[in-house]
Amino acid sequence: MKTRLSLNQKSTLLSLVLFGVILLVWQLATLPQADTVAAGVDPEYAALMGGGGATAASSFPTPAAMGQTLWDKLSDPFYDNGPNDKGIGIQLAYSLVRVLGGFFLAAMVAIPLGFVIGNSRVIYQAVDPYVQVLKPISPLAWMPLALYTIKDASASSIFVIFICSLWPMLINTAHGVANVRHDWLDVSRTLEVNPLRKAFRVILPAAAPTILAGMRISMGIAWLVIVAAEMLVGGTGIGYFVWNEWNNLSLTNVLFAILMIGVVGMALDSVFGVLSKRVAYQE
């Protein structure tokens, strides 16, 4: 008898098939090639250049090598053998601390400011041109200014995160606050609710889904930016790790770092996914 698969089962199956196909293509692309050495090249010269031997392995890691690296790195993520050899857990922790630091500083500025802007048409219009000009600036463009004024590499990268997280949260908060349904405000007016209680019990929950959407966008951007920022300032963090491994010509480690950046980014996003579900309401 034929049993029907549920939607979830089907998509899981397809996901696994895709994974298999990717591994297969990867394996085929990195197969050791017998004729790596082009005809007509002196074998001795080829050997000097590091491509010697009849069966030169590709310098791109094979899935098996990748799996080995994954296992090794993840089984000991927190070792520290000096500035250029730290476990992946430590590097990610550095990056996360910077991202969360910059992000929360930005939230502390953007959400109250967004409240003020969203509550007043005049302030909204007065501030809007500044936001429109500052918003499209690549956060990394602030780096020289930050390094010059703050004079500390790590603090500068936190500042860069701060500046890139600020705009989506500010704009969304202002938008959410400005668009709270009039009925709810009328209710609180007829109930003579004081301004502070109105802000926390009516406007904040009403605007929370919009504010949280802004925070989610900010966090996404912050995680993108931290990698580039750490490549610039160096020292610690996942961005620095990627750059360091590139200098080591260890593509396996670079690939591994890419995978970790993706996984952490996904985890951060899903935290905000859970939070937005919690504050969501259905009218």
Partner: protein, 317 residues
């Protein structure tokens, strides 16, 4: 009913709402010369066509909107801004969707009595939730409730703050006929129990007759005003299922329908009179019955505008 000699609880004097013309021409006067009084414990319904400014009047009474000219006095004090003394039931129910039924009502109770402790607030809110028959649904969110249940929560919330006066803007306009009937009867009962003073806007003639002591009819805008007032003396307690058997029911009903269909337009002539003042014609059911019987061969047919009856002429017109 309160004696007409007693000091009116709510007094509205010469209310008008004028909007500056968007094109720079003459100003638009939505309504003017609006005067009426509401006594304590009285249930007053207002009806009229859309655009005559009924909702604006209600919002002015609530303190949510300001009049261009005129004054509103409640209990001897001028109305300036919203107050817990006047509860409002919104047509769109205006419940906060992130709060449960109990939290929605408690929010109002806590606003009215900020010093009360949690338990007292909760008990008080529950009393009104039970009053509207929503016991058992108090922990549901508004999105889990039907339209009728949501409006019941709105009613519970408005009554829970024990306001001196209740303002209702087409409270049942968005409900289906069956639900509307049930909630109207509940409202009737609650109002009788609490002796609540009510000002209600409605488009439903039957609803006005069932619930109110006095029905104010507004002419069409611009320059809308209260053209007629019908004293609804049908005996209480009233029941939806039996009220149409009252001898005065159809005369009143026909008078109202007739106003909305034809007479509401005819007041244009009145407003053009330079010395037009503001007293509406007052009708009593007995008069209406008389004209009803003389013009009406059978029930349920809208009579032609009553002509030549002495009580039809407009006072001061």
């Amino acid at each position: 009913m309160t004696s007409p000699l007693s000091h009116p609880f709510l007094q509205v004097e010469n209310l008008a709402r004028i909007y500056p013309s968007p094109t720079g021409g003459d100003d638009v006067t939505v309504f003017d010369h609006v005067n009426f009084r509401i006594h304590k414990g009285e249930f007053v319904a207002v009806t009229g066509h859309s655009g005559c400014g009924k909702s604006t009047i209600l919002n002015i009474l609530a303190g949510l909107d300001a009049a261009s000219t005129g004054n509103v006095f409640m209990d001897g004090r001028e109305v300036a801004g919203p107050s817990l003394d006047r509860g409002v039931i919104f047509q769109s129910h205006a419940l906060m969707p992130w709060l449960t039924v109990l939290e929605n009502v408690s929010f109002a109770v806590k606003s009215r009595w900020p010093r009360w402790n949690k338990q007292k607030v909760c008990d008080h809110a529950m009393r009104y939730i039970e009053l509207v028959g929503l016991k058992g649904a108090e922990h549901k969110k508004p999105s889990q409730l039907s339209g009728g249940m949501k409006q019941r929560v709105g009613i519970a919330r408005a009554f829970s703050i024990e306001p001196k006066m209740l303002l209702m803007d087409e409270p049942f306009g968005a409900l289906d006929a069956l639900t509307r009937g049930v909630i109207q009867e509940e409202l009737l009962k609650i109002c009788a129990e609490t002796q609540q003073t009510v000002f209600m806007i409605t488009h439903d003639v039957d609803e006005a007759i069932l619930l109110s002591d006095k029905i104010m009819l507004m002419s069409n805008g611009p320059h809308a005003r209260i053209a007629e007032i019908v004293n609804n003396t049908l005996p209480r307690p009233r029941e939806r299922s039996a009220i149409h058997k009252q001898p005065h029911y159809y005369p009143i009903r026909n008078h109202l329908v007739d106003f909305l269909v034809s007479r509401s337009k005819q007041f244009g002539a009145l407003r053009d009179a330079p010395d037009a003042t503001s007293s509406p014609t007052v009708f009593d059911p007995a008069d209406l019955l008389e004209s009803f019987e003389s013009t009406q061969p059978e029930l349920n047919v809208v009579p032609a505008p009553p002509v030549g009856k002495p009580h039809i002429h407009l006072v001061n017109a």
